[in-house]
């Protein structure tokens, strides 16, 4: 049980800090939330800078162009970039955190050569086409159909909640290739170029007024069979590989950003004047801030445990589900506290909506946090996973 960084880990961190210290001041101002062209340029530009400096694919193995860092170095990377205010992974999320790692484990050499270098250089935006209108929590019941026609799959159906679908170049797409088989055994994982004829993308407006995700319609879209990852009808297993990454390190920057936000909130509380005192003088507000900090510190410690497990076993431990479940609730409490402090000010959204991912506008954040217990497996599903897979309670069905 040792949370100290080794000499190599410290050397890695110091070198990274130096580089960030040089590069961050040259970046300029981040783009507006709704200017997607500028956002793409910003996110991909940052990825390219990481690539040129040797920090792209930090945790990808070096034979695939990554840096081959240990899970601890990955954690240090995320900690330092967030702490120093570097851009968030943004629309590179799916490529860097799901699709890339999945291709590394499951794809053919040709598929890897075609996509992995481009992902690392920030030349490909990916999206995740898993959920459907009738297949959300029960993802395995998905019905987007793929019929084999020579060396193509002909795909017809609909995906929904596809984050960054309207800017993506490729999609990790789950389709049904066997209608008769039990639902988990008729699914196939495909790489789908988003510019194929027959694909229509319609952005959906979120509660925050932004358009982060889309509906994607497929009308007889011809996808080459060579785009299949894994065997036909083995896509559910491949998707499970994708999920293990999603629940592993995906929330580290989030948590650290949230801790920065709490510090800002404490500052704000000390400044807000009401009836001759400050919000900070309110015992309940002050104690809730202390309480939230205790919980975030604990979640950060839990993250270090999950990362240490990954370092020993090669896979993130079950702590990921616990983290996600707990974090969503704590973050909602923090957003509510901010609003108690802001009082009437809680009616006003900052101009442009603010950066709801990692800080800034607390009003936008109160909306954003609603998605934390829904996206990437709802809290109810996380509780099922913990109850059944960790505690061994009987399955529902």
């Amino acid at each position: 049980m040792d949370i100290r960084f080794s000499a190599e880990e410290i050397a890695f961190r110091d070198e990274l800090r130096d580089w960030l210290g040089e590069v961050l001041p040259t970046l300029g101002d981040p783009p507006d939330r709704d200017d997607w062209t500028a956002r793409r340029k910003w996110d991909m530009g940052w990825q390219r800078k990481l690539y040129d400096a040797g920090y792209a694919g930090i945790n990808w193995p070096s034979e695939f162009g990554g840096r081959g860092s240990t899970p601890t170095e990955h954690l240090i990377f995320l900690e330092e970039t967030t702490r120093m205010g570097a851009p968030y992974v943004g629309m590179n999320f799916v490529a860097q955190l799901h699709a890339g790692p999945t291709l590394i484990l499951e794809a053919t050499a040709e598929q890897q050569a075609r996509h992995l270098p481009a992902m690392l250089k920030g030349e490909e935006v990916w999206c995740q086409g898993f959920s459907e209108p009738n297949a959300g929590s029960d993802l395995a019941s998905l019905s987007t159909r793929a019929i084999r026609d020579g060396d193509h799959y002909v795909v017809t159906g609909q995906k929904i909640w596809t984050s960054f679908g309207h800017v993506a170049d490729y999609c990790e797409l789950l389709v049904r290739t066997d209608q008769e088989a039990p639902k988990h055994r008729g699914i196939t994982w495909l790489i789908c170029p988003m510019d194929l004829p027959g694909i229509e993308v319609r952005p959906i407006t979120t509660v925050a007024g932004s358009s982060e995700f889309c509906e994607v319609f497929f009308d007889e879209v011809r996808i080459p069979v060579e785009n299949r990852v894994g065997d036909e009808n083995d896509g559910w297993r491949v998707a499970m590989v994708t999920f293990s990454f999603e629940r592993g390190t995906a929330f580290i920057s989030e948590l650290l950003g949230t801790m920065n936000q709490l510090a800002e909130m404490a500052e704000l509380a000390r400044g807000i004047r009401r009836n001759g005192s400050t919000a900070w003088d309110d015992d309940e507000i002050r104690r809730e801030i202390g309480h939230l900090q205790a919980e975030y510190d604990a979640l950060w410690a839990l993250t270090k445990r999950v990362v240490s497990q990954a370092q020993r076993t090669g896979m993130p431990g079950p702590g990921g589900s616990v983290f996600k479940l707990y974090y969503a609730e704590v973050k909602k409490r923090m957003a509510d506290l901010a609003h108690r402090m802001l009082e009437r000010g809680a009616l006003v959204l900052a101009e442009g909506g603010g950066d709801e991912q990692t800080g800034g506008d607390m009003v936008a954040s109160r909306l954003y946090v609603l998605s934390l217990s829904i996206a990437a497996g709802t809290s109810e599903i996380q509780r099922n996973i913990i109850g059944e897979r960790i505690l061994g309670l009987p399955k529902e069905r």
């Binding site: 949370i3 960084f5 202390g290 510190d297 509780r383 009987p394």
Partner: protein
Amino acid sequence: MDFELSDDQVALCDGIRDLCQGRFDIDTVRGLADCGGVDRQLWSELVDTGVFSLVVPEEDGGVGLGWAEAGLVFEQLGRALVPGPLVGTLLAAGVVDDSVVGLVERTDGSALVEYPDVIDALLVLDGDGVWRVDAAELSFEPAQSVDPLTPVGRVAELPQGDEVGGCYGWVNRAVFLCSALQVGLATGARELAVAYAQERQQFGKPIGQFQAVKHKCADMYSREEVARAALYYASCVLDAPELADEDRAVSGARILAAEAADHNGKDCVQVHGGMGFTWEIDAHLYLKRAWALTPCFGSLDEHAERIAAMV
């Protein structure tokens, strides 16, 4: 960084768990309520295993391990509901010669002292230091404790006692050890609830198949794991204070462990239905011990304040 348990630490946990299962099975533990919480023979087995001398350096006759190990051991003791003045006796090891040592904070007026009938000495903590009072100097008015495994007696006024040296950072260490016991209690309560949820049938199926029960168990596990992470982090900071602020780490563990033990105790009662409200089922023992351990060395509000001042 490797925040997982080392092989030695895993072996230590296993050893203490075996000791608890072998010597402190639940019937024995319940029986201890009839002899003031401590049986000298069993206590000496804890002493001989090194439970109390864990952090005493080897050259002074101790085991020479750190707070990480002390936390792991106390977690196992909490999980098994082992009673007795565990925290006081560990802190007192190497400082005074008594073998069953109580610990209390000096307050104005009367004081409640735990395990009044079995302690050899009481150590009193106040702003000026730590003071030893011989048990013979104390006269107790009887008081009924909420927790049968934490008997208490009331002392009208604590004697001044004799100052003892070498008591660096005792408040944080006492708080830390109470937190470790509570993480163990949270685990014990969760394990009991999950076992019952698997075995008890209603509507023709195990109640653990109902989501309302399953999800409660999942929440118990989550609380426990988050509290455990906070506890392990605090233990690392106690062992290497240059790493981070000790007060913040300990107060954080304190809050999460106390809440996890309290909530898991209540949920364990609930999962047991009517049985949970009986003396016979152990659920109440976890909850009551959790309650007994919380109002020690600062309220949870005070710990939250201590952290808030650092945000």
